[in-house]
């Protein structure tokens, strides 16, 4: 029972934090490993009624979930806040050399299917260059990835 009550208290805190959450890389849920994503402790209020908190969220264009929808990098019109919200999974996948988040990142960067295995291998080999510390931000990760790609004969064409 303690867990449940605690969850509710946390949820209460997170709602308020949420309302004030700035956009950009700070947008997203969950417990964050990387500094760039800090902010939202949240066990969602959701659990009982499967609900959402605060403003009704209805997709990116009309969304008001605290996320800044502006961003330089876009994929099929979707802003790069994608990266901000999958940073943890991405770091794990890069460390291991494969995974869903890494695939998504490759797709967002425009890497074609035939070059994805190579992309995985290159990022895996340069984990420390992409994720330089536990305090790295989504922008830094993005920038470091592009630098890495520019130095690679196969991937350079995607980082022009």
């Amino acid at each position: 029972m303690k867990r449940i009550l605690l969850g509710t208290v946390l949820a209460a805190a997170s709602i308020n934090a949420f309302a004030a959450a700035p956009g950009g890389p700070s947008c997203g849920w969950g417990n964050m490993l990387f500094e760039g994503q800090s902010g939202l402790p949240s066990h969602l209020v959701a659990s009982i009624t499967n609900g959402t908190s605060g403003n009704a969220t209805f997709g990116m264009t009309s969304g008001t979930n605290g996320c800044d929808t502006g961003g330089k990098l876009t994929y099929a019109g979707k802003p790069m806040l994608v990266l901000g919200s999958i940073m943890n999974e991405l770091s794990e996948d890069v460390a291991r050399g494969e995974g869903e988040a890494l695939t998504t990142y490759a797709v967002v960067l425009g890497v074609q299917p035939e070059d994805r295995a190579h992309f995985n291998a290159v990022t895996h080999a340069h984990f420390n260059d992409i994720f330089t510390s536990a305090d790295v931000t989504a922008e830094q990760v993005h920038e470091a990835t592009l630098n890495l790609m520019r130095q690679d004969a196969v991937l350079a064409k995607y980082a022009a």
Binding site: I4, G7, W29, T49, N50, G59
Partner: protein, 618 residues
């Protein structure tokens, strides 16, 4: 009848002014009673006469009587379609794309104005709907609220499947909207009683994965549906109409699952899914209904973070698990010569488990710099020495588990008296029931009724249980969860003069479970109980005690052996020893042998043995 016609007449007048097509009342009414129109307005037959809508929001309806009159709403929509196109995004065609399409097709409206629906178009293009996936976050027993699971829809774009970019899709969720913060209990009550309005929301699917898989440790089941791109598009069009629209939300029936079934009917009107759930819509049952309707083509299982951690640590020895906890607490251990002496393949497994453990522990917490640094150092170690890919077997699909309601028939004897027992349980699963599709050590029962017919045709209410929840989650070297239980209702207990008394009771307990060998779970809980016993002097008799036992998964089914001991403040000591062996006869059939011995100061010890047939249906 006049009431329903009046707005119609007024509507017709307006229509004339705005040059929408003139229709005879009968034609209008016929169109308004078409199933698709009723689906779009979420109408259901009202108890008295006519219709009412599930939508509880005036903004959704164009006609004043729209909530109760599909005909008036149809007329108002028709009028709106011909409004000045300069209204742009506020034009009826832009706000109601599904209604517009349907009316255009039904009435061959070739002369409609063309407003610029920029907002809707960019929203629709962003989603780029192509395929629909039904997502079922499995029940999670340590949170009573999520015990029944949940359902949501995922909308995939054309390249989602081929490019493996599920993380870029949107999740369509129906849930209660909590605007202001009530305290926990009020919140729970309002959620159940319908105090919060329900709304649809559309969120990045990756956020939902994070919510369920990481924060709540619920497995996700993804069911690919065979809706055509056109059908998916039709549904998404209608979803736009439901933007910010409030529905009543009730936990048991008008819940997430019911609303999603309605949407599937809008996508494919030949489906008749909601009719199967007049009273309750338990998410797993709705998944079953979707399966039976032949909609499911493929299933993907996405294990929770907790399950991944347990699977990763499963092959490790006790000594290696010690390294896992030490590493998770202090990443400097990576440099420990003793650690570095370990075989590198084992190190890979240990590091990976330690990383998963830290992430598990920090789940739901504020970001902690020290923990983040430790995680990062472990990731660096994993990067140098990655473990083999973690493979987790897919458990039985939840919709292949037993059905939710149970009929029971038992024959037995209590001391020397034979009895027949007739029982019904509204939902859902107890510790000994057929296990496929359910976790071991989890019980949630609602509405259990057992009536006995003793020899000599003596009838007696044996039990009326309101709710009984038991969550026995084993502790191991890495995870230390609590086990707990709570139950309330009416049950028969020993009374004076060897009579058995029906007492209202409330009891609960907390403690631990262990898993000494696989398929065997032991548990011990401290318990508290309060009851109203007619033979006691006081109105309410409190007791403290304990409950311990074991649950063994064997070849026949589950065996549950347990002892309960209550020490009442009035001096009564009540003990019982129970044994039940369940025999799984088929998915929806089970046979159970039950034996128990009861001791109390109030009467002589009594023995009872019975054989019970359990039929799971609906």
């Amino acid at each position: 009848m006049f009431k329903r016609l009046a707005p119609l007449l007024i509507g017709s007048l307006c229509a004339a002014a705005q040059a929408s097509p003139q229709m005879a009342d009968t034609q209008l009414q016929a169109l308004a009673s078409e199933r698709y129109w009723l689906l779009l307005g979420h109408y259901l037959p009202s108890r008295l006469d006519g219709w009412r809508s599930y939508v509880d929001d005036d903004a959704f309806f164009l006609a004043d009587e729209g909530a109760t009159s599909p005909t008036a709403e149809l007329q108002a929509t028709l009028d709106g379609l011909y409004a000045d196109p300069a209204q742009g995004n506020d034009h009826v065609q832009c706000k109601y794309p599904a209604r517009t399409r349907w009316l255009r097709e039904q009435l061959q409206l070739s002369d409609l104005p063309s407003p610029d629906c920029g907002e809707y178009r960019s929203w629709y293009d962003d989603i780029n709907p192509h395929a629909t996936v039904l997502v079922f976050p499995d029940a999670y027993l340590n949170s009573p609220s999520s015990m029944f699971g949940h359902t949501l829809l995922r909308i995939d774009s054309p390249d989602t499947q081929a490019s493996g970019t599920t993380l870029l899709t949107y999740a369509l969720n129906f849930g209660a909207m909590v605007e202001n913060m009530d305290n926990g209990i009020l919140y729970a009550w309002k959620g159940l009683a319908g105090g919060y309005p329900g709304q649809f929301s559309l969120l990045p699917y990756r956020d939902k994965i994070g919510e369920y898989s990481r924060l709540e440790n619920r497995d996700l089941w993804e069911y690919q549906l065979n809706l055509t791109p056109e059908e998916t598009a039709r549904m998404v069009e209608h979803v736009w109409e439901l933007r910010q629209v409030r529905f009543d939300y009730f936990f048991f029936d008008e819940n997430c699952s019911y609303r999603l079934l309605e949407l599937l009917e809008v996508a494919k009107p030949q489906l008749h899914l909601t009719e199967q759930f007049p009273l309750t819509a338990i998410p797993a049952d709705t998944v079953r209904a979707v399966r039976e309707a032949g909609l499911i083509t493929d299933v993907t299982y996405r294990p929770s973070r907790e399950r991944e951690l347990l699977a990763q640590a499963e092959p490790l020895t006790s000594n290696e698990l010690d390294w896992v906890t030490r590493l998770a607490a202090d990443s400097a251990v990576l440099k420990d010569p003793d650690y570095q002496a370990i075989d590198s393949q084992r190190q890979a497994l240990i590091q990976e488990s330690a990383y998963r453990l830290i992430r598990y522990q920090s789940s739901g917490q504020e970001r902690d710099q020290a923990s983040a640094d430790r995680s990062y150092q472990l990731l660096q170690a994993i990067n140098q020495n990655p473990p083999p890919k973690l493979l987790i077997d897919t458990p039985t699909y939840p919709e292949y588990g037993h059905e939710s309601r149970t009929w029971q028939l038992a024959l037995g004897s209590r001391d020397d008296r034979a009895f027949a027992e007739y029982g019904l349980r509204l939902a859902y699963h107890d510790l000994a029931d057929n296990l496929a599709g359910f976790p071991l050590g989890a019980q949630i029962e609602l509405g259990t009724l057992n009536i006995r017919q003793y020899q000599g045709n003596h009838w007696q209410l044996e039990e009326l249980g309101l709710v009984s929840i038991r969550s026995l989650t084993p502790r191991n070297q890495l995870l230390k969860p609590w086990s707990w239980q709570v139950a309330t209702g009416l049950e028969r207990v020993a009374g004076d003069d060897d009579k058995r008394r029906l007492v209202p009771h409330l009891n609960g307990g907390g403690g631990f479970s262990w898993n000494p060998v696989s398929d065997l779970q032991t548990f011990a809980l401290a318990t508290l109980r309060v009851e109203h016993h007619p033979d006691a002097d006081e109105a309410l008799s409190p007791a403290a005690g304990f409950n311990a036992g074991l649950l063994w998964r064997n070849g026949l089914g589950n065996l549950l052996m347990e002892t309960s001991n209550d020490f009442f403040t009035n001096g009564e000591v009540r003990r019982s020893l129970k044994l039940s062996q369940h025999w799984e006869l088929g998915t929806d059939l089970g046979l159970r042998l039950r034996a128990r011995r009861e001791f109390s100061h109030r009467s002589d010890p009594e023995n009872e043995v019975s054989l019970q047939l359990r039929w799971y249906y609906y």
